[in-house]
């Protein structure tokens, strides 16, 4: 249960947003930590050989970064009851120093029974949604 009180939040409240600049090293680090070493995330030649524009980020890295919007706000792992995402567009990560910027936002969409709330999450890269419908249900106090 979070210290954030159900009574104190309103539908439409926007959680503090986060940005992340994806670099190639992020994909290497995530591959090592998660065990997902699919070459489309690590090997540019391979990614292009299967029809991708370049190396793409793990969808699960993007889900995790979107999740940080919620966990940073709630500060309580027990409060998260469910988390679901659809992946709509890959985050392409070229081999350069600028990387690929993605902005993560979250908004309270619904106050439910039992002091639970539904938070809708979005992730955008250059205006393009990289996540489809993405939702966290959280338990407030």
């Amino acid at each position: 249960m979070s210290n954030i009180r159900f009574e104190d939040v309103e539908v439409g409240f926007e959680l503090p947003k986060l940005t992340h600049t994806y670099k190639r090293q992020d994909l290497v680090d995530y591959a090592n930590a998660s065990g997902d070493k699919n070459r489309i995330h690590l090997d540019e030649d391979f990614a292009k050989s299967v029809g991708l524009p370049d190396v793409i980020a793990h969808g699960m890295l993007t889900m995790a970064l979107a999740g940080n919007v919620v966990t940073n706000w709630l500060q309580d792992i027990n409060a998260i009851k469910s988390f679901s995402v659809k992946f709509s567009s890959p985050v392409v990560v070229p081999n350069n120093s600028e990387g690929t910027l993605v902005e993560f936002t979250g908004k309270i969409e619904e106050k439910m029974d039992n002091k639970q709330i539904k938070i809708g999450l979005e992730a955008r890269s250059q205006g393009i949604k990289v996540l489809g419908r993405s939702v966290v249900v959280a338990q407030l106090s």
């Binding site: 998660s34 940080n68 966990t71 988390f83």
Partner: protein
């Protein structure tokens, strides 16, 4: 290529239990930039279990009889339902079940549900992964 419908509802219990270590939790949190205090308290980030689900699913997904072309697979959807947080020292077992197989506009879709329990058979989480094999035509 359509997937083999005979795989629908097949279940694959994990052959071993997965012992969750502090290093795994810390490395995962670091790789996603999760520096919340629950990590230093020994609790895993919300999507941590994917690292174990991927391994647990592969028994089914790599079976050539299924007909899944790994060169064309992308991750379509992912969900987690949480019963209790994962923490250091948990010994987790998975049962992965192929919940749905379908073909839509030339693409193959497969959904795998993984039910995760701890060593006391207490429910920890249910994960669902939908993978899409993009059609060639």
């Amino acid at each position: 290529m359509a997937l083999n419908q005979a795989f629908l509802n097949r279940s694959y219990p994990s052959k071993e239990t997965y012992k969750v270590t502090k290093d795994q939790i810390d490395d995962f949190a670091k790789s996603i930039g999760d520096s919340n205090f629950y990590v230093s308290d020994g609790f895993a980030s919300p999507t941590f279990l994917i690292s174990i689900q991927m391994g647990a699913m592969q028994v089914a997904l790599f079976d050539p009889e299924l007909g899944l072309d790994w060169n064309k697979v992308v991750h379509g959807e992912q969900s987690f339902e949480y019963k209790k947080p994962v923490q250091v020292g948990d010994e987790l077992s998975f049962i992965s079940t192929i919940e749905d197989i379908k073909t839509k506009v030339g693409n193959d879709f497969i959904t795998i549900r993984s039910d995760v329990k701890d060593s006391n058979k207490i429910d920890v989480a249910t994960l669902r992964a939908t993978l899409i094999a993009r059609g060639t035509g």
